[in-house]
Symmetry: C2
Subunit: 361 residues, 2 copies
């Protein structure tokens, strides 16, 4: 157990006082960084990179060497679980992810097993352990998983989709079968995140990328309930600290209240919700992570600074805010713009944490 | 002026009593119909079809010949205005729309003129007149336009986009320039919709397909305010009837209250908002149009019926509801499923309109 030198991220997630607002960026280890592209080239395919703990560690640390970020996030893919379930994940150049054996029948569903994290996904746990060692306590490490609904869409569609024709056809016509898929995935995600925590993840985040494509009742039944089940099954203490859990449904701005009821510690916000309004709705229950439009990073450093100021002012005084983008950083953003973002957050947020009396809000 | 035989659609938009809930489907004249594909084949390109009033009329009427829909919608494209502004619209096979001369500089913006609807978009007005003649009062005809923000994204990106890198870079770094584009578009859309009304459109709808990609403050400043300006500039009476205006921002479920303040008559809802909640929020001010997930049409007719029942029950008693999908019908939906939808809405909605006392809610 190493000493954690910068714990602002963990403290903010637990709404404990901090001296400035911590920041990390979704997809911070990614294609916008030339050093990432170089490592990716060296690795071979994208999955080769994910499955090589040393290289996964290398790209995880790259953004930290450039910017004073307050958290690292495990470099991996959300589709490792379906891959370990035997669906045969592969990536076509220029296309999104694909599965060789998508779910097409109830027999396919029957065959799905819950992977053992150390046996079947050992490369992820090895990456977590390697990164923790190399981080040496600089900042906390975030583990993550896709949500059951999000994973199910890829497994049923056979890859990326915009319309979710097959997944929603199953939802409407064979809800019991979809529940069977989601139940197995909830068990798999729970075991996977607990194994990441055991291996050294100091916070975990569940990415529900496609929950926002559902009707509110369907969201609750087919996405949120399974995330709640996962939250309830997590071992949320390690190394004598609480391990905070962040829930992020892209497009979920209408459902923050019911998301906050799952027992998670924080909600990720995309940029279509005002963070001040979100705080008024659920800030007494959970911390908030977000929520700059990733496209703001196409603007000049001066404009980025102005937008950061707006979000910090909207959130207001006190802890409970982790700055982030509302979605992953885009591959064509200049790295200097990311630098301007991190600097602006650290600098402009200090006044909001100055008063001890307001920090405990 | 012909007698309108079925005015349920117009009455529901004005929250006047009806005997059943009227329905139409976004993109009801479209690729899911074999007869549409045949006419499209005959026309040549997609724009050839839009620019041929006789064929545009033919495809507009096709779904009405199959299903007892309660409204027709002009067959056209939202990008006719930028095309008339000289940007050179074209369609690549298998790709979305493209512009030969996208907006790249302030000089490009200066050059943009406001098209004269009858001179520069006469083919649209001819289509409206032709369709009205051929409809012969069966159902009302809906005219439409894209919203200024939505049109601007295509004009600045040069075609379809997912991320809006260029449009948002302009929004963040050159807001005055974007306001100049939007101001010209608001003038153009106002003139265009007024000309459609003069030619015979009996209701109009503004499609803000990409407003949901904005931060709430940006939505108000760069999309909603311009739609409000358009609503204020419309001639909302024709043939001794009110011409209702419908506003639809896809992904706008968080902003219904401010949308309803524009003075429009109805809001279109996508399927991520519960229509009962929406009615509680804004139903005293506006009618609601929606909001079945288009993917529900992949399900069996029995399931479609169950989903229709759910939406009708959520809306509840009385007028003010036009049934629709939450977005355009998908090209691979079986036409019989659309038939099941229309039948279910007409049949299952009658009890909600039975009581004179509740119909006036």
């Amino acid at each position: 157990m190493t000493t954690l030198h910068n714990d602002r991220f963990l403290r903010a997630l637990l709404r404990q006082p901090v001296d400035y607002t911590p920041i990390w960026m979704m997809r911070q280890a990614g294609r916008y960084l030339p050093e990432y592209r170089a490592t990716r080239e060296k690795a071979g395919s994208f999955m080769d990179l994910c499955k090589n703990p040393e290289l996964a560690c290398e790209v995880t640390l790259q953004p930290l060497d450039r910017f004073p970020l307050d958290a690292a996030i495990l470099f991996s893919d959300i589709l490792t679980i379906p891959d370990a379930m035997g669906l045969g994940l592969y990536f076509e150049t220029g296309e999104g992810p694909r599965f060789q054996h998508p779910i097409r029948s109830s027999a396919d569903v029957e065959r799905l097993g819950v992977p053992d994290p150390e046996d079947d996904l050992g490369y992820v746990m090895d990456a977590v352990r390697t990164i923790r060692r190399e981080l040496a306590g600089r900042v906390p490490l975030i583990g993550f998983s896709g949500s059951p609904w999000t994973l199910a869409t890829y497994m049923i569609e056979g890859g990326s989709a915009k319309v979710f024709a097959r997944s929603k056809a199953m939802m409407y016509d064979q809800p019991a079968l979809l529940h069977q898929v989601l139940g197995k995935l909830a068990d798999a995600v729970t075991a996977y995140l607990n194994a990441q925590i055991a291996a050294g993840a100091q916070a975990v985040m569940i990415f529900d990328t496609w929950g926002g494509a559902l009707h509110p009742l369907a969201y609750r039944e087919f996405s949120l309930d399974y995330m709640g089940r996962i939250v309830g099954g997590l071992k949320r203490e390690a190394e004598d600290r609480k391990v905070p859990v962040i829930l992020f449904t892209k497009g979920g701005g209408q459902w923050l209240e019911i998301m906050a009821q799952t027992g998670c510690d924080a909600l990720g916000l995309d940029w279509t919700t005002d963070i001040g309004d979100a705080r008024a709705r659920v800030g007494h229950r959970v911390a908030l992570q977000g929520n700059l439009d990733p496209c703001a990073l196409y603007a000049s450093p001066e404009t980025i600074r102005r937008e950061v100021a707006g979000i910090l002012a909207a959130y207001g005084n006190g802890s409970g805010h982790v700055f982030n983008l509302g979605h992953g950083i885009n591959p064509d953003v200049p790295p200097e713009h990311a630098a301007a973002l991190v600097e602006a957050v650290h600098e402009l947020s200090r006044p909001y944490h100055a008063e001890k009396s307001t920090a405990a809000v």
